[in-house]
């Protein structure tokens, strides 16, 4: 693939470059089941042909051979006798014209992709986004259910007129998706001589509010860390990877935030990372990492509903990577949307939200979940299973967490994988821009915790339907 200057290289050049993710079409490597099954009764088709030959005469060959499908399903050498199912988009024109012998069905094998949480609709969307880098655009309105639980019970706001914070959709290239990771003081402190006192801010910025999580233990393909790290290098964000995965990496490890557990060989971290994550709290390890990597920020990876979050803050943690399981559930079963709000609120209530960075993962599996998670209080999301789906991973049964999930990846080519991940991020970032543009927000940092720009089904329904017989909220 061509070399395109990475975000890091642009930054070093000192010349302003608008952030841009380089997308290149990266088609599926593995043939996934077609979306539809096309059944043509051959006898019926033969009968039709004979009838039409008689009616139109051989001189009207074009008329006889004109078939209903405009997508080429019947465009093979023997037409409808061997339909090309993979091209079927389910328009139903053929079955409308020939109900007697053409039948189109959803393919159950396609619908079985993913698991009970990562439903096939999400898989479909990601497979398109990772292959093309584009935003899924379709006609004919929304086809899904009305609102729902979790993410689906939340809508984002829009603005009818120009807001001072926006420059219209044509300005959306200038909507910033940069987020800061690290520590900023709540206010400035000065000593009696007017000199700055207190802790100075310690942050670095990444150009999009999405990071990559460490893959589950079951995925052992050495090309995967390379794909993740290379994509992160191109994108300018970070990939969390276990210390053991660093060995196979070259320069691209600069975009890796090592995920360290007690007992890991710290000598394997032979560079100065911007961020290091501790997998669970360990005071000794925290001290060791702070001493050994004075320039790195030390994040703590722990559960959203860990009761000791504030104690970790007191112990010096300023960057939290909070986790729910792959189905977006916390240890007590709460959904990630509520977990994010609760965690954000705990820090707000203590007056220290500004001093910490909250990253979060678990159950964030669609582009729309990113702004929603940020509105609920995250600074940035850490993506897990969507990355695997972008690489065409198949789920073995239900996949719930990093330690127990079984995914099967096709034989991975790191360059193809990196491109798929970049495409996915380009698509998701563009979709984030759509949401921000619609709201009239010029930067994603302003979205954090902006609950006033969210609408929740429960509240709206209560406002609209209160008093209607049978409605009990």
């Amino acid at each position: 693939m061509d070399h395109h200057a990475t975000t890091e290289e642009h930054a070093k050049s000192g010349v302003y470059h608008r952030y841009h993710i380089h997308t290149v079409e990266a088609p599926d490597r593995e043939r996934w089941p077609s979306r539809f099954n096309v059944h043509v009764r051959k006898a019926g088709l033969a009968k039709l042909l004979i009838k039409e030959v008689f009616h139109y005469g051989p001189q009207n060959k074009d008329v006889i051979l004109s078939r209903p499908c405009v997508y080429g399903v019947f465009g093979g050498p023997v037409g409808g006798f061997a339909p090309r199912e993979e091209k079927c988009v389910g328009c139903l024109r053929c079955t409308t014209e020939f109900p007697d012998f053409v039948r189109i069905e959803h393919n159950p094998a396609r619908r079985a992709l993913g698991d009970s949480y990562f439903a096939f609709g999400y898989v479909d969307a990601i497979s398109y986004e990772a292959a093309s880098g584009l935003i899924p655009v379709k006609g004919a309105g929304y086809r899904g259910g009305f609102g729902g639980e979790g993410w689906d019970g939340m809508w984002t706001d829009m603005s009818e007129i120009v807001r001072p914070t926006r420059d219209g959709i044509h300005g959306r290239e200038f909507i910033s998706t940069v987020v800061d990771i690290g520590y900023t003081p709540n206010f400035l402190e000065f000593d009696e001589r007017g000199r700055s006192a207190g802790s100075p801010p310690r942050t670095f910025s990444i150009p999009l509010p999405m990071l990559f999580d460490a893959p589950p233990a079951s995925v052992r393909d050495a090309a995967l860390p390379r794909a993740l790290a290379s994509a992160a290098t191109e994108l300018g964000n970070l990939a969390f990877l276990p210390v053991a995965a660093l060995a196979g990496l070259g320069e691209e490890k600069l975009a890796v935030a090592p995920l360290v557990a007690p007992g890991d060989d710290l000598a394997a971290i032979d560079y100065q990372p911007r961020l290091i994550a501790m997998d669970g709290w360990d005071a000794k390890l925290h001290q060791e990492l702070s001493d050994k990597f004075p320039h790195a920020l030390i994040a703590l990876r722990t559960a959203f509903d860990d009761p000791d979050l504030l104690a970790y803050f007191t112990a010096g943690v300023r960057v939290f990577h909070l986790t729910a399981n792959y189905h977006g559930r916390g240890e007590q079963g709460d959904f990630v949307l509520d977990l994010i709000r609760a965690a954000h609120k705990r820090f707000v209530d203590e007056g220290i939200r500004q001093e910490v960075t909250l990253l979060g993962s678990g159950g964030i599996i669609a582009a729309e979940h990113v702004p929603k998670a940020i509105i609920c209080g995250l600074d940035a999301v850490v993506l897990d299973t969507p990355l695997l789906v972008a690489l065409q991973a198949n789920f073995n049964d239900e996949c719930l967490d990093r330690s127990t999930s079984e995914f099967q990846l096709p034989r991975l080519d790191a360059a193809w994988g990196a491109q798929r991940l970049q495409n996915l991020m380009a698509s998701w970032r563009d979709q984030l821009l759509e949401i921000l543009g619609a709201m009239g927000l010029r930067e994603v940092r302003r979205l954090r915790g902006e609950m006033g720009r969210a609408m929740f089904m429960k509240t709206l329904e209560a406002d609209a339907f209160a008093g209607i017989e049978g409605y009990h909220g």
């Binding site: 139903l92 014209e97 006609g139 219209g168 759509e434 543009g437 406002d463």
Partner: protein, 438 residues
């Protein structure tokens, strides 16, 4: 399969191809609703197969289907699909011979502009030339004429073939100003400002390059085969005062036209509505998320702005609170699929509804969502492909939409009789006549 009695004499291959497929399609639209099951892959939560098939039947004969197909609700699990009416006991229904009045006034301001009343509380929403074929536009406008109501140009210009139907056409002025000319404003009995639309609230319109044929581009005064993105929002509008200037501009160009303001449904939709009223609008058109016919990012359709069911009561109450409710007509759209949805929207506080998808389904849409793929709609609806667009003959389409409107009117009268109401105007805001089903 349609019987083959196509007359071959002197016809070109293209004509024969079109006739063959049109005959097959029409036979299919009549066949499927009469089977025990529809095509297995037809339908979705908002428009289940039954509802699509029932709509095909209504478009065929202008009456609700007597076949047991559900023609009243979808399966979305919320909103209109959770509401039903508290009908009176049968003994208290109004007699059959009493024809409840379905008419609504579009100008309630008494400001000397046209006093427009439509005999049914519905009109057609904006679908632009380019997003749909010229045949579809003409069919919709002819149906509007047949039914004494209106349809809207959408943001894509005014094909010359529509001029004879201008008394039934709303000219839309949207952010890209495509096709907006002095004469198209002057033709219009109603001019509609599109601030936003439910299918992509907060985003501008899209017309992908493949559909911007040279004819479309000529009407839109753009470059052929280049995608067109309307900006969002109106870049000259920062406030209600700026909006007022817009309205005044139209009122100056056309001194008789009514002004409609089409907005989406943000958190402050109530204030947007009242602002539109104070800026001089006769009609506030609320377009909720979940609806729409045009190409839109999936993320926008599902996630931005609130569903219409929640926006209507919010706006109705706020306008009442401001004591202006009887001076402005509120039209609702965005997921209004059936006569029952229309009646529910009115009971929640709208005066009437604006339809889009239902009309397309009447003329053969299967809701497959492929409108933007390749040459456009394979049924000839949302396409500018010269061959495909012939698959929906204008007269046939006009008759189908007229029939659908007639079927809706029939059902609305039936609903009113069962509620003991003599006029659709009495239903407005009567939430007490609704019940929530769980």
């Amino acid at each position: 399969m349609a019987e083959l009695h196509i007359d071959l004499s002197g016809k070109s291959a293209e004509e024969l191809i079109v006739e063959k497929h049109v005959a097959n399609l029409h036979a299919g639209f009549a066949h499927w609703p009469r089977q025990d099951d529809g095509p297995p892959a037809l339908g979705d939560a908002r428009w289940p197969a039954e509802l699509i098939l029932a709509t095909w039947l209504m478009a065929e004969d202008g009456r609700p289907p007597g076949t047991g197909l559900n023609y009243k609700t979808g399966a979305s699990g919320g909103g209109f699909d959770k509401l039903d009416f508290n009908f009176l006991p049968e003994a208290d229904w109004l007699p059959d011979m009493l024809e409840p009045d379905l008419s609504i006034k579009l100008n309630k301001r008494g400001d000397g502009r046209r006093e427009i009343e439509i005999p049914i509380p519905i009109y057609g929403g904006g679908m632009s030339y380019g997003s749909v074929s010229e045949q579809v536009m003409r069919a919709r406008a002819t149906a509007a004429k047949n039914s004494g109501t209106f349809t809207s140009t959408g943001e894509g210009g005014y094909p010359a073939s529509l001029v004879p139907l201008k008394d039934h056409i709303i000219t839309q002025v949207a952010t890209g100003m495509f096709g907006v000319r002095e004469e198209t404003i002057k033709y219009a009995p109603i001019v509609e400002f599109k601030y936003a639309q439910g299918a992509k609230p907060g985003l501008g319109g899209h017309l992908l390059g493949d559909k911007a044929t040279s004819t479309v581009a000529a009407i839109r005064e753009s470059v052929p085969w280049v995608s067109l993105f309307s900006p969002f929002p109106f870049h000259s509008v920062y406030s209600v005062e700026d909006h007022r200037k817009h309205v005044d501009w139209i009122r100056t160009v056309n001194t008789a036209a009514l002004v409609s303001v089409k907005v989406s449904t943000p958190t402050d939709v109530d204030m947007v509505a009242v602002g539109s009223y104070f800026a001089g609008a006769h009609i506030v058109h609320l377009d909720g998320s979940y609806g729409g016919t045009g190409a839109a990012p999936e993320i926008a359709k599902k996630n931005i702005a609130m569903p219409i069911e929640f926006a209507i009561p919010k706006v109705h109450r706020y306008l009442e609170g401001e004591e202006v409710r009887d001076e402005v007509t509120v039209m609702a759209s965005g997921g209004v699929r059936t006569a029952y949805d229309i009646a529910k929207a009115i009971a929640l506080g709208a005066d009437g509804c604006v339809l889009g998808t239902a009309e397309l389904i009447a003329i053969g849409c299967t809701r497959c969502s492929n409108c933007e793929r390749g040459r456009g709609c394979p049924f000839g609806l949302t396409t500018t492909d010269p061959l495909l667009s012939q698959l929906m003959p204008t007269e046939w389409g006009a008759e189908r939409i007229t029939n659908l409107y007639a079927a809706y009117a029939f059902q609305l009268k039936d609903i009113l009789r069962k509620l003991g109401l003599k006029s659709i105007r009495e239903l407005r805001g009567r939430r007490d006549l609704l019940r929530y089903t769980d």
